[in-house]
């Protein structure tokens, strides 16, 4: 593999709600083309980590670097410009319920490109086809199943051909087969588009199937305890908490 280039770096980050510190001293790097897993038990702050990386919540301390740019140290315009190069798939899809799927995907295109309406329609059709939902353009989010909403959410996140895609618990609430298909989709997109993926999840099957790099957030110590390829971590770790997590509590 070629020399890896850092895409997103987290330095000495502390996240907190008011006085309550969720995690402290987080330092890790997401490389370009990684499928980077943020893992940890429920309530350890995985999703909060993501909200900080996508600019919805400011960190209590520390920095997030996109390339060389200090994300939270920049002015709002720069932040806006950086985050426009990122796509986010929210846990529930978070499609705008008053718009059809086509309108959902078209909105970022209408806002940020000068494409003609006909061209936008073609892009929408392509993105929906990529996530296996061709023909659902005129459906409203409430008319399709949860798994389809998530996939449509990915299609919307990909609308502007982002450099990095964030996924918040992609397989939560999906049956095993749909969850597997979603994993395959993430792998496929990374391989063919070279997009950096950041996935927040605690599904072991997904973690090992797609993760090329990861960070483990330990709720009891309120900090990260490991970072690296999940399979390597499983083989080498001596930390009982991480081992328990990666083996689903089964004794080996």
């Amino acid at each position: 593999m070629t020399e890896k280039e850092a895409h997103i770096s987290i330095r000495d980050l502390t996240m907190a709600y008011g006085d309550f510190v969720v995690m402290h001293d987080l330092t890790f790097t997401v490389n370009r083309g990684d499928i980077f897993i943020i893992m940890g038990g429920s309530g350890c702050g995985k999703s909060t980590m993501m909200t900080i990386m996508i600019g919805l919540k400011s960190p209590a301390k520390g920095q997030v670097f996109y390339g060389q740019v200090d994300f939270w140290g920049s002015d709002p315009q720069t932040r806006d410009r950086i985050i426009r190069r990122a796509g986010v798939m929210y846990q529930s899809g978070a499609l705008w319920s008053s718009m059809t799927l086509a309108e959902n995907i078209a909105l970022p295109l209408e806002t940020y490109t000068d494409l003609s309406p006909a061209r936008i329609r073609e892009v929408v059709k392509l993105k929906l086809a990529l996530v296996g939902m061709a023909g659902f353009e005129e459906f409203y989010p409430s008319e399709i199943s949860g798994g389809m909403q998530k996939r449509a959410g990915i299609a919307r996140a990909m609308a502007l051909d982002p450099e990095v895609l964030f996924f918040d618990e992609p397989s939560a609430g999906l049956d095993p087969v749909s969850a597997r298909r979603l994993d395959d989709l993430i792998l496929e997109l990374r391989d063919s588009l070279g997009t950096t993926m950041v996935v927040v999840t605690h599904e072991l099957a997904s973690i090992f199937a797609i993760g090329s790099n990861s960070v483990f957030l330990d709720a009891s110590q309120r900090t990260m305890t490991a970072t690296g390829n999940p399979s390597t971590l499983l083989a080498e770790t001596k930390d009982p908490t991480l081992r328990l997590f990666l083996t689903r509590g089964e004794k080996s």
Binding site: T51, I54, G55, L56, D80, R81, I83, R84, A86, V88, Y90, Q91, S92, A94, L95, W96, S97, S98, L107, P108, T111, Y112, R156
Partner: protein, 377 residues
Amino acid sequence: MPAPAELQLQKSAEDTLTVALTGSWKLGEALPSADEIQQKLDGKPAIKKIVFDTRQLTDWDSGLLIFLVDLREFCTQQKIPIDDSGLPQGARKLLALAAAVPEKKDARKAAGKVSFFTHVGSETVDFFRSSGEMLTFIGDTVIAFGNLLRGKAQYRKSDLGLVLESCGGQALPIVSLICFLVGLILAFIGAIQLKLFGAQIYVADLVGIAMVRLMAAIMTGIVMAGRTGGAFAAQLGTMQVNQEIDALKTLGISPMEFLVLPRMLALALMMPLLCLYANIMGILGGMVVGVGMLDIGFTQYYNETVKAVNLWNLGIGLFSGIVFGVIVALSGCMRGMQCGRSASAVGEAATSAVVTAIVGIILSTALITVLCNLLGI
């Protein structure tokens, strides 16, 4: 009919207490409590062990388990070992399961007593914080409006159309009904007094001025607060719960421009029109009473109304209408945007939106009335 639950305590050996459980130990029936054993043990420090005899136990469910958990807690405090081998196997396993993860002591909500001063202090801090949030929101709205004037605001024209329709045309029936009846009621009340002086004709003045200057705007405002303000808060609140607003933000689309602006604009545009319509309905209501009951001629009533109501009255009424529209839209959108992430938070947001709007309407009415008085109009 199963035998009732009973508890028998025997000292089977010098230091052993046998607890015999008989009958049906099910929730909803009268069950003996663990206190009985506690009382018995209190007097006998010699007991070093508790065993169970459940051969006569016919039936059990959580009722038995609660009893056993109580008993175990007490015995752990007193350091008396329990031998659970006499219990049914299922109960034994469930008991072990309940003890598998120790109770997290700091997980309990702190329910400590809050002193009066602490309470007043935190309420005051909250009040200032929420006032600050309100000002921030108003500021954001003004910025969004500025962007609109410069033609840079990101919103969908079709959204504006939809909101215009829902807070304009669709509100007509309820506004008609309410304002027609308010006009009617005003005329009735006025008529009773004015009849004493034989001045029935002034019912037209009373209804005309009251409706056009004030009542139409207030009634429309309150109807819209309940109808549209609550709906705005619920819509935006649900979008907040579904992370739809987060999705807008991460795309760099300002929710203030995309969601709040069209709603604000629609209400501010529609409220004066609704007020104008409400004026007509109110005067019609008064006319029904005047012409029907007080034997005032139709033309006479009309002429009297035209004579009484001047342009200032109409202007103040329409101005109030615009102000109320902005207040209703502002409180609805603000409460919706501030909404928490649960279903009950959406309900609170809707309630709070309506309350804020109505308080705002009454306060600004008072302000406008005083101002008009000072200006002599």
